[in-house]
Subunit: 371 residues, 2 copies
């Protein structure tokens, strides 16, 4: 399939403070973003893509100076793809607190010019949505054709529909949840404890020590990666396959699945920031839009006017179809325009990032209905 | 319910070497064990209990000097309980490589008298079964009425039935599997990596450094504990319950599930040995009795003559009912006498340790049929 091709990372700088859910104000801040496709004169064909835990603004195409660095949703965004850049002007930004150019733990603290590190405030899904709204305003977008995201990105799309009902025509919410289960909060806490108990963590101020809690981040990612796949997928892909025929009777890599996991963990910990990982998992934990409405999700979703598409994947056990069904039920009770599809897939939560013709066709069909 | 009461830990010392699956020989070794109930004159009422990953020989009753230290299966072993000590003479031993008195990483190496530490060989389920057979011989037991175990303990019970068909009348195999899935091997590898990347691990020779990789062991246990429960159980028990009403916007304990997990992790890492944890998880990975029979489980189970009871729990996702069904199917194909029951339960893999009237009734009924 054709790609959007070479793209450039852009930055929008804001000098007006942003007040966060915690009450803390970020005096100056910036968002790193990319765009794909061409805006029409009214900017009415704009689509916002929201990323998940480990994502970035680099959702499609590649960089001229690094053609191998292909965006994380390149199979989804481009000419003729579900988010069709022949029709839509797609915007993807790095979340606040991220480690890909938006203001975050790596950015200089205004007081001393040293990295925020552990001083960077905890941010929420609501904070991200508000900051993205500011970006939209600066780009001259009054109303998105759609806000689209998977997993934590889907939570942002839902929050967009709730907080700025006049500013989007549609929302596509993929493999998301209205709130995390205790099991999911538990997995996040184990990941955070792995990072924070790494002796190189230095209370988050490891940049000054010229260290990084890479061991902890690696463990966190190994664990997360496991839970993003499904038992069936791993059985098909690795089973009990050995690296060597002979049993070594030690704790080195013996099974292929160990090799894969350790590699994935190491690769990730080489290029992602541990403080960002903490903050993204915490935003997941905190997301619970019904909490302020007596846990009544139907009431919480009342402000929505957008048309919604929800998707889940049959083998996803971290954000199971039940989670999407809960949102769908609440939307139906609130008499919203909602479609929901459970896609048959073997790849677990990761399915939302992968090519799957049923999945892609469903999103394409929905996008076609947008003006 | 009545308990077996005060009991004493016993030790059996072996001076005849034990050859392990790895080819390594343990010249001198010992097993720590306990017994409950009274042996009949022919020792034909003996029942062997095999423990799981974090278990020990202390399965029932309490110690005179520590009455609060109640055995891990006290609800299962005792007068009128499923393993009824009014009828049976129950023996429970600590696995070789354990940290509760059997020869293991904490024991002195014969060469220098220093703890084995990282030098202790990797042992297998087969090794445990062979060492337990030696213990049985020394106790004068020719044939067990039953060998009983859950999880890793169930794997031992299965192996007993395969390796010593003449030495047991029955086997009770609870929440076990004929082999681990890739997902389960993955979880074990994350746990081991957590321990081995702890800077206090010192390649397993941390006793000499007067340190312990407690941080790593704590993480390993937090993760394991999560996967032993079920999403439904955790939802009912913790849900999204907060410790405080106000959101703290930090990474301290905010949700009750975090508090519970961290407490469980710390408690465990205070009293368990990290080298033993490594070794027990590796034995789980390696267990695969069909591997040497062209992956034909039915052929592998051919030697069995014992009557078998298999049990699984509906909410167990680490050793799911499917795993027990796989063993049951193979046993049926091999024309063995097997009963299988899936018990309805909410508590996940941990169900095998908990009181559940259907579960206990099923085992009691089976045990009643034994001579």
């Amino acid at each position: 399939m054709v790609s959007v091709g070479a793209i450039e990372r852009q930055t929008m700088v804001f000098d007006e403070p942003l007040e966060l859910s915690s009450g803390i104000k970020l005096p100056h801040w910036q968002l790193s973003y990319e765009t794909y496709g061409v805006a029409n004169s009214q900017m009415s064909n704009a689509v916002l893509v929201c990323h998940a835990l480990s994502g970035s603004q680099h959702a499609a195409g590649w960089y001229v100076d690094n053609p191998k660095d292909v965006g994380w949703w390149d199979n989804f965004i481009g000419p003729g793809k579900p988010l069709d850049t022949d029709r839509f002007f797609v915007i993807s930004s790095n979340n606040l607190g991220g480690c890909h150019g938006s203001t975050g733990p790596l950015s200089p603290h205004p007081d001393d010019g040293e990295p925020y590190g552990g001083r960077f405030p905890v941010v929420t899904v609501e904070d991200w949505v508000h900051s993205q709204k500011r970006l939209a305003e600066r780009l001259g977008i009054n109303r998105f054709a759609a806000v689209v995201g998977g997993s934590l990105g889907g939570m942002q799309a839902l929050r967009w529909a709730m907080d700025y009902p006049d500013c989007l025509q549609a929302a596509v919410i993929i493999a998301a949840a209205a709130k995390l289960t205790a099991l999911n909060i538990g997995f996040n806490d184990v990941a955070r404890q792995a990072i924070m108990s790494d002796p190189d963590f230095c209370e988050g101020n490891y940049y000054a020590c010229e260290k990084q809690p890479q061991g902890g981040l690696r463990l966190a990612r190994m664990l997360a990666h496991l839970t993003y796949l499904s038992d069936a997928h791993m059985a098909a892909r690795f089973g009990r396959e050995r690296r060597e025929a002979e049993t070594a009777y030690n704790y080195d890599i013996e099974f292929q699945v160990e090799s894969y996991l350790r590699y994935q963990g190491s690769k990730f910990s080489d290029c992602f920031d541990a403080n960002t990982y903490l903050l993204m998992t915490r935003a997941l934990d905190y997301f619970d839009p019904a909490a302020s409405r007596d846990n009544n999700l139907t009431h919480a979703l009342a402000p929505i006017t957008a048309k919604l598409l929800l998707l889940s994947f049959s083998s996803d056990w971290r954000f199971s179809p039940k989670c999407s069904e809960e949102i769908t039920q609440a939307l139906l009770q609130a008499k919203k325009r909602v479609s929901y599809i459970e896609i048959e897939s073997q790849e677990g939560h990761d399915s939302f990032l992968l090519e799957n013709s049923d999945y892609h066709r469903a999103v394409s069909a929905f996008m076609t209905t947008l003006a």
